[in-house]
């Protein structure tokens, strides 16, 4: 009987692992293809075989070498995106934290209505307002500075995403605030010295999401930056590499670019990863 059970367990495990392995393979194969072929030396855009015959860094070198007669300037695009992402990350993280703190700790008349308005506004899909945003930015003359405009767009409404971190702040005992108040701390001091140091997971979560957003956004960036090629972000720039005019010569560069784009996000993620899972789940706990 025991033996029978053992056999059953092993067979079921084998089946499960084969199934999971198969699914895993399907999931990872595009990434493997992307990385492998970004090192492919031979051929033009496409090849009929799976594994490159000759590997080199040529595509990466080409990607970061800008010739004078070409407007494909990946290093510049990369820098643009990095600047936009860093600034909007800082601004939106601060905004989210402050809004959440106010909603979680302060009691004022308009609190409930404001929370509700925030919820309702958050339900409208972002691209509904994109054309309006374009004309507002134009009226303010900000289209001449598309990178500034992008930072504003990504971070101006960030405070509305307060829900998860408010949930987290709610779990921090109010007794701590009260103790600090007795010691003479102001609301502001409590926020910076008590609440924030205790909220690492949720800060990390907010930093990650607000950094990845601008880094990968395409639609809004395309509308705002439009035809201003030197001010492209990587998402629009990479798409330009594979339009029908450029694809034959630039497809390999596109693959290399896609790998390079993943580097900052992955680095950030690796550094902050141990907080990440904690942050995602912590906000959901009702205190």
């Amino acid at each position: 009987m025991i033996k029978n059970y053992k056999v059953r367990r092993i067979t079921s495990n084998i089946i499960i692992y084969i199934l999971l392995g198969g699914l895993g393979l399907i999931w990872i194969s595009p990434l493997v293809y992307l990385v492998l072929h970004s090192f492919r030396y031979e051929g033009l855009a496409y090849v009929t075989y799976l594994f490159p015959k000759q590997l080199s860094f040529k595509n990466y070198i080409d990607l970061f070498t800008v010739t004078a007669d070409s407007s494909l300037n990946f290093p510049r695009w990369f820098l643009n995106t990095f600047i936009v992402a860093v600034f909007s990350c800082i601004i939106s993280t601060l905004a989210v934290m402050m809004v959440s703190y106010a909603f979680s700790r302060l009691r004022f008349k308009a609190r409930k209505p404001l929370i509700n308005i925030g919820m309702i506004l958050g339900m409208f899909p972002g691209f509904m307002t994109m054309i309006a945003i374009y004309y507002l930015l134009k009226a303010m003359g900000l289209l001449e500075l598309p990178l500034v405009a992008l930072v504003i767009c990504y971070s101006a409404g960030a405070g509305l995403g307060y829900q998860i971190s408010k949930g987290f702040f709610d779990t921090i005992p109010r007794a701590l605030d009260e103790a600090a108040t007795i010691d003479g701390a102001t609301r502001n001091q409590i926020f910076w010295k008590i609440i924030l140091p205790m909220s690492k997971p949720i800060i990390v979560y907010t930093v990650l999401t607000s950094f990845i957003g601008p880094w990968t956004d395409f639609i809004l960036a395309k509308i705002i930056v439009g035809k201003d090629i030197p001010n492209y972000t990587v998402a629009i720039g990479l798409q330009m590499l594979i339009d029908s005019d450029h694809v034959l010569n630039n497809f390999k560069k596109f693959l290399a670019g896609s790998v390079v784009v993943a580097v900052p996000i992955t680095t950030l993620f690796l550094f902050l990863q141990r907080y990440y899972v904690e942050g995602v789940t912590a906000g959901g706990v009702k205190g």
Partner: protein, 431 residues
């Protein structure tokens, strides 16, 4: 008190925004006036009609920016007594209409675009028509085909910049001989002998329209509500053509490949090469030529045997045009510059530096065209092609599907083809 101030500030900001928008719409009426004033030829001495302190923005394609800059410098030098500044920026021809229509105020005064966008631009009233001063000259100096791609409802809306923006037959001379390249059957046979692919992007309406064009179906403008109009075609002949293509695709099903044209150059660059021939876009010509070297073969599209007669394949072909923004602040100068950028000298410069086929008749007779196989092929094909204008948005997808059906299905008898054809036509007409 605070609340009132806040409210006031908010109202002021809103008013500012509205005022800015309002200002924009006023400009339209202002700028259209001088363009009309050009009709009177009041001041023939001054081709600028009094405009001075001119600053113009020009959009050119990525690879054409440097050439365009040089031409613009020459233009400035030509009029030393005027103060002109010209800024040239990169903008792909395929995306120009979208950018102009998106925000005409921020768009270039003079811009290069692919002719298939002319309907959209005309509908958005974004194009200032060619002024009467230049109209006759533009019509006579350019090929009839190029002029037809710039004309909508009898009105010349833009200056032709190139004589083509389409596709041609490219083949590897080691696989297909020049003689075999003249017929579709010969190409298939040669590719089969070498076991290499022959690539047509048959699922894309831009290419698959050849299957119906060759059968005599042509487009004949749009109705006012944008529905496609066809010529009085003979349905049996169109079906004959479709059947002939379908038969070949099935007969050589292991040779024929429907894929993105970038596949052709890629396949030829592989070692050993996997593609013997293909119908490729002119924009890839330089790269493919450098891949094949001495074995680079280019020709007009081949003939196909339909019911015993070799019939020339008819293609869709566009052109690149230079348009003048209807909201340009310097309409006369913009027209003058657009005219200058498309005259014989400018087209020769683009031919020499970029290998763009001129629309200018004299420039197209140059030796450079004759010596360049791709350019002669494109120039030959231009006689057998339909202009890519006046095409409904609903045209592309059904015609692409029809192309797909020709090689994708096991059943390709006449009845099936007829029902697929009927389906495609009714979808194009959006019934």
């Amino acid at each position: 008190m605070k609340k009132i101030i806040a409210l006031l500030l908010a109202v002021m900001m809103l008013a500012g925004v509205l005022a800015a928008c309002g200002g924009g719409s006023n400009n339209t009426t202002d700028t259209s006036k001088p363009a009309e004033g050009g009709d009177t030829k009041a001041d023939v001495e001054d081709p600028f009609y009094g405009e001075d302190n001119i600053s113009l923005l020009v959009w050119a394609a990525d690879n054409a920016v440097n050439t365009t800059k040089t031409l613009c410098d020459n233009f400035i030098a030509k009029y030393p007594n005027k103060k002109i500044t010209i800024d040239v920026q990169t903008q792909g021809e395929g995306d120009a209409a979208a950018q102009v229509l998106n925000d005409a105020d921020k768009a270039a005064d003079v811009f290069s675009f692919a002719c298939d966008q002319i309907n959209r631009l005309a509908k958005g009233k974004a194009l200032a028509p060619v002024i009467p001063d230049f109209k006759d000259d533009v019509t006579s100096r350019n090929t009839e085909f190029a002029v037809s791609t710039a004309t909508l409802n009898g009105e010349l809306l833009a200056y032709p910049e190139t004589g083509e923006n389409g596709y041609y037959l490219v083949y590897d001379k080691a696989v297909v001989s020049d003689e075999q390249a003249k017929t579709l059957e010969g190409i298939f046979e040669a590719c089969k002998a070498a076991n290499k692919k022959f690539v047509i992007d048959a699922g894309n309406g831009f290419y698959s329209c050849m299957f119906i064009y060759t059968g005599g179906l042509k487009l004949d403008g749009l109705t006012e509500d944008g529905t496609q109009v066809f010529n009085a075609y003979d349905k049996e002949k169109v079906l004959d053509s479709l059947e002939a293509f379908a038969n070949l695709f099935h007969q050589y099903s292991d040779i024929f490949m429907s894929a993105d044209p970038a596949r052709i150059g890629s396949g030829m660059a592989e070692d050993p090469s996997t593609v013997g021939a293909g119908i490729d876009g002119s924009w890839n010509a330089a790269t493919v030529a450098s891949v094949l070297g001495d074995n680079y073969g280019a020709a007009k599209l081949p003939t196909i045997n339909i019911k015993g007669t070799d019939t020339q394949i008819i293609s869709m072909n566009g052109s690149k045009l230079i348009g003048v923004n209807a909201r340009s602040k310097f309409p006369e100068a913009a027209q003058l510059l657009a005219n200058y950028l498309t005259d014989e000298e400018a087209e020769t410069a683009r031919l020499e530096e970029l290998s763009w086929l001129p629309s200018n008749i004299k420039a197209a007779e140059s030796d450079i065209v004759k010596k360049n196989p791709a350019l002669s092929a494109l120039s030959d094909q231009a006689q057998f092609s339909e202009p890519q204008i006046n095409i409904a948005d609903t045209f592309w997808s059904p015609v692409g599907t029809l192309g797909n059906k020709l090689f994708n299905t096991d059943k390709f008898d006449r009845a099936t083809i007829e029902s697929e054809f009927d389906k495609a036509i009714s979808n194009v007409l959006d019934e």
